[in-house]
């Protein structure tokens, strides 16, 4: 689905350059829910931004279904981005636009037929269970509802891939479970591949089929869920894998 080949990204700082992502290669399987976990500052969010080229990698390639995004001219890249949805920790809705208008914007950008837009907006809002909020402004909604609007907006153009940047980090535990349920539903019902960047172990435990662990700009561990759950590592290392598999405390997988 999505492949990264040795991508790196540095940022210029006053005291020299900071290497946020260093030579990461990663393959995300179609139909999976792929979690990227790590401490803050590990480069997770930068890695996610490299996937839709919000940040251009200094080196390496990004491939989406065999097309090399890193070689596309700006205009074609925009078309490719319309096939990928993205949601954010702070939701990033247009606060001066109603809920339905927010969902309609990506349709306009993609040149979706005018007459069918309204219907499509309704469809997306009902998928996230917010039809009755269509005329409201985001300021009147709760955090969980805003993230649902953001999800509806990301789904509008029928993407194959949904990028999630800390989607539940600004939400309380109950709302978190709720939003994770929506993401899982999107994956199972619509067949959308989901990539989630998070620092929350529970997010990975509850819905991810694959996990990559990031540390200091590198992927240091990758593993997949088996039928029995995530397999624990052989030795005791105090790693993310242990915490996810439940050895280091958590009781469930």
């Amino acid at each position: 689905m999505l492949t990264l080949h040795g991508v790196s990204k540095s940022f210029a700082l006053r005291e020299g350059s900071y290497r946020a992502v260093q030579g990461v290669s990663l393959s995300v399987e179609a139909g999976s829910i792929h979690g990227i976990i790590g401490a803050s500052g590990a480069g997770k969010s930068t890695l996610l931004r490299l996937m839709n080229l919000l940040e251009r990698p200094d080196e390496g390639q990004v491939l989406l279904e065999g097309r090399t995004l890193t070689e596309l001219p700006e205009q074609e890249l925009r078309k490719e981005r319309q096939k990928m949805g993205m949601i954010f920790q702070q939701f990033n809705l247009v606060s001066n636009a109603t809920v339905s208008r927010n969902v309609a914007i990506p349709l306009e950008l993609a040149g979706y037929p005018r007459k069918q837009r309204k219907e499509r907006v309704q469809e997306c809002l009902s998928f996230v269970g917010l039809e009755e909020k269509a005329g409201q402004y985001p300021a009147r909604l709760s955090g969980g509802q805003r993230q649902r609007v953001a999800i509806a907006r990301a789904l509008a153009n029928g993407p194959k891939l949904l990028l999630c940047d800390e989607p539940t980090s600004a939400l309380d535990p109950v709302t978190t479970a709720d939003i994770l349920g929506v993401l899982q539903h999107i994956n199972s019902e619509l067949g959308v591949t989901v990539i989630i960047v998070t620092h929350e172990m529970d997010v990975v435990r509850s819905i991810c089929s694959h996990v990559s662990v990031m540390e200091e700009g590198r992927i240091v561990d990758s593993f997949a869920r088996r039928e029995t759950g995530f397999l624990p590592p052989a030795g005791h290392t105090g790693s993310y894998r242990e915490q996810i598999t439940g050895r280091a405390g958590g009781a469930y997988v």
Partner: protein, 220 residues
Amino acid sequence: MFESLQQYEAQMWESIGETFVMVGISIGAAVLLGLPLGTLLYFTRKGQLYENRGLSALLNAVVNVVRSFPFLLLVVALIPFTRFVVGTAIGTMAATVPLSIVAIAYYSRLVEQSLLEVPRGTIEAARAMGASKIALIFKFLYVEARSGLVLGLTASTISFISFSTVMGVVGGGGVGDFAIRYGYQRFETEVMVYAIIVMIVLVQLIQFTGSTVARLLDKR
């Protein structure tokens, strides 16, 4: 008191008309040219989407030079340019030229400030959706900054009214010029007071309208 007002009523109305022409054209210039200029100032800033040091420095220098002129001197300095644009350096239309130039510089700065208040996340979301530059500006930036843009235009309009009062020097007329010529220079204090009251009412109305519109537009 009312006798002197009746005596000058025609001139009063004429001068109000001149003020409206001068300020109206300046507002037009501010929106048509100041808004894009301010947007360009915003985009070329360090750390913004189309960061461009050279262009940014150039635009900033131009805007600052225009704004650092004492307005009266700018009017005088621009006389050759004004003559080139409208064919004459005297009269109400001629007065709109320096006024419009100041309006563009003044409003562009306020536009830049309003746009800086739009959260970066909103712009990032727009880019992630595959928005073109034009779509980013009109469907995201201006939508999120709209109440600030209206408040900035309101503040600018009030400044333009103030600037327009010195336009008597090039025969621009207007309420301020009326107050000086008929009120101050002819020792008709009532006329001067009357003209000042007209100005006060005008400014209050504009501010009230601007604030109300900005509040209604702001859904954040």
